[in-house]
Amino acid sequence: MTTNTRQPQSAWALLADIVGGAASVIKGHVVTLRNWLRPKVTGQYPYRDPAKEWVPKPGYRGDFALIHDPERPGGLRCIACMACANVCPDKCIHIIGQGKGKERHPAAFDIDIGLCMYCWLCVEVCPVRAITLTPEYHNVAFTPQELIRDINDLKARGEGIAEPLLPVPIERSVLQPPTAKKKDVSEA
C-alpha cells in the first residue's frame, strides 16, 4: 500500500518536520504577498471603462470585411472568382456573381461566421486581396441568423480598410505583393 503516512523516528525528527513544513508554507505565503503588491492584470468584461477596452493587435483574425474599390461596379474589389468559397474548409462563404469579364462583381456575398473557423485561407487565396479579417471580435448574437454577414454588412465593415490586415507589410507574408494586383484583374 502506497500512502503518505510519514512516521518520524524521534521527537526531534517530528519537530524538524513540523518546523520545515511550516517554513515551506510561510515561504509560499511570502510569494503570495509579493504578488499581491504587483499591479492587477485582469479587467472587467463587459467593459465598465471604455478606455480600458482590450484592443487586439492589427493582424487579429476577427470578423470579416470586404475591401472597397470605388472604380469597380458594386464598389468592391471582389471579382466573384469563387476562390475563397472553394478553399473554405467549412464552406461558409456563399457568393452569387454578376456581370462578365472586368465587370464581374458579387451580387450577393454571405459569410456564415457561425460556421467559420477563422483560418484566414480566404484572404490568402484571394487574387485581388478583396477580403480581410478585422480585429472586430464582438460577434455575439441571439439568433443564428444574426451570424450571417451579407454583402452590405461586409461592405460597411470594410470602410477605411485599404489592404488585408496583417501584422507585417504584405511583402513579408504569403499574400501576393501589391504589384501583382493589376495583372490578376486583367486575367480575370
Binding site: 510569494v31 507574408s173 504569403v174
Partner: protein
C-alpha cells in the same frame, strides 16, 4: 488491496467524468472503489472524437493545417510543425533558415505556454489555486506574442508548407525578450509554491509510480517518460531541425511518480526559456517563404515524421497517392499513450490521488480522441 479492508466494505463503481473538473476535458473513468481506495480505473475515451484523420482525406494540404491546431489545442504550433514537416519531406521542399528558426521558436514558446497551463492545472488539482492564477498571468505573455504574430491566441494556422503565414512583426523580438525575462523571474515562484511545498510533495511523492520498463512498454513519451529516468527526448535523439546546434539539457528525473513528472516539466520551463533566448540571438535575416504551388501535389509515398511536442512524441504518418490530398493520415498522439496506463498508475491509491495522477500525465482530451 489492504487485507484488513476485505469483508468490511463493498466495492463500489463510480463514474468520474465526463463532466468532472479534474479530468482535463471529457474523460470518463469508471472507477471501482473499495472505500476510498481505487481498485481499478478504466478510462473511457472518445467523447471528443472528431475524425481528424478522416477529415484529412477530403482536404488538401493547405486546408488541413488549420485542423491540426484543433486536436492538441495546447500545442497547436507543434501540431502544425509536424504536419508541414511531413508534407515538406514528401514533397522535397527545403525551407529557409529564418523560417526554420521561427518555427522552432514558436514550438518552444508553445511548450512554455503548455507547461505553464500544466502547472496551473496541477496546482488546482492538488489544491493550490494560487499558482493557477499566476501561471495563467504569465501564459498570457506568450499568448500575446502568438496573437500578434499569427492573429489568434490558440488556433494559430501560422505555418504553411514551405514557409509561414508572415514574418515576425517589427518589435516582436524585443517583446519576446521582455516576456522571457518576466517569465524567468517568475519560474522560481512556482517552484516555491509547488515543487518545494511540503503539502504538494506529500500529495505527489510516490503517487502514480511506474518503472522505466513498464513506462516504455506502455509507450510513454515526453516528460512522463523522462520522469521515469529514461533520457529520451526527440530533440536530442532525432536531432531534428536546429536542435543539435542549440545548448539545452534533457531533463531527467528518477522516480517515475507524479513529483518526478512535475519536476521534469519545471526544469523544462527553464530549458525552453534558454532555447528561446538562443534562437532569438541567432535569428537570421532573409525570406521566410519559398515558392510553393497553390495546389500542392506531392509524390506518391509515405512518411512518418515525429517531433517532441509538450506532451511527448507527436507523430504524423502520411500516405500520398500523388494527388493534392493525403490518401491516409494518422496521428501518433502522445496523450493517448500517456493515458493508457491510468489503471496501472492509480491502482491502490486514494481516489483523491487519481486527480493528481491525471494532472501529472498532462493529457489533452482533444489529443487523446482526435
Amino acid at each position: 488491496m489492504n487485507e484488513a479492508n476485505v469483508g468490511t466494505t463493498d466495492q463500489l463503481i463510480v463514474n468520474m467524468g465526463p463532466q468532472h473538473p479534474s479530468t482535463h476535458g471529457v474523460l470518463r473513468v469508471a472507477l471501482t472503489l473499495d472505500g476510498e481506495r481505487v481498485v481499478s480505473a478504466d478510462p473511457d475515451i472518445g467523447y471528443l472524437h472528431s475524425s481528424m484523420e478522416k477529415i484529412a482525406e477530403r482536404l488538401d494540404y493547405r486546408q488541413y493545417i488549420s485542423y491540426t491546431d484543433r486536436f492538441d489545442y495546447l500545442g497547436a504550433m507543434c501540431n502544425e510543425w509536424v504536419f508541414v514537416r511531413a508534407v515538406e519531406r514528401l514533397a522535397g521542399i527545403e525551407v529557409t533558415p529564418r523560417c526554420e528558426h521561427i518555427r522552432l521558436l514558436m514550438a518552444e514558446l508553445n511548450r512554455l505556454a503548455s507547461h505553464l497551463l500544466y502547472f496551473g492545472a496541477m496546482g488546482i488539482d492538488t489544491g493550490a489555486t494560487t499558482v493557477f492564477l499566476y501561471c495563467f498571468r504569465e501564459r498570457e505573455l506568450i499568448l500575446d506574442l502568438f496573437e500578434w504574430v499569427s492573429g489568434q491566441r490558440l488556433l494559430y494556422n501560422f505555418l504553411r508548407v514551405g514557409g509561414l503565414r508572415n514574418d515576425l512583426p517589427d518589435g516582436w523580438v524585443e517583446q519576446c525578450h521582455a516576456a522571457m525575462d518576466a517569465l524567468a523571474s517568475r519560474v522560481d515562484e512556482y517552484d516555491t509554491l509547488l515543487s518545494e511545498n511540503r503539502i504538494f510533495i506529500a500529495r505527489t511523492r510516490g503517487i502514480g509510480a511506474i518503472t522505466a520498463e513498464e513506462a516504455l512498454a506502455y509507450g510513454f513519451s515526453g516528460p512522463c517518460l523522462r520522469g521515469c529516468g529514461v533520457p529520451y527526448d526527440l530533440r536530442r535523439v532525432d536531432g531534428y531541425s536546429l536542435y543539435p546546434e542549440l545548448d539545452f539539457e534533457v531533463c531527467v528525473e528518477e522516480g517515475g511518480d507524479c513529483l518526478s513528472r512535475h519536476m521534469v516539466r519545471s526544469r523544462e520551463l527553464r530549458e525552453s526559456i534558454k532555447i528561446v533566448r538562443q534562437v532569438l540571438a541567432r535569428l537570421p535575416e532573409g525570406e521566410v517563404n519559398v515558392p510553393v504551388p497553390r495546389r500542392l501535389k506531392v509524390e506518391p509515398g509515405e512518411v512518418y515524421e515525429r517531433i517532441e511536442s509538450p506532451r511527448g512524441e507527436l507523430g504524423c504518418y502520411l500516405v500520398s497517392d500523388g494527388s493534392d490530398k493525403p490518401w491516409r493520415m494518422h496521428w501518433r498522439a502522445p496523450s493517448f499513450y500517456n493515458l493508457a496506463p491510468l489503471d496501472r498508475l492509480c491502482r491502490g491509491h486514494w481516489m483523491a490521488d487519481m486527480v493528481a495522477v491525471i494532472a501529472s500525465t498532462d493529457i489533452v482530451l482533444g489529443d487523446v480522441d482526435r
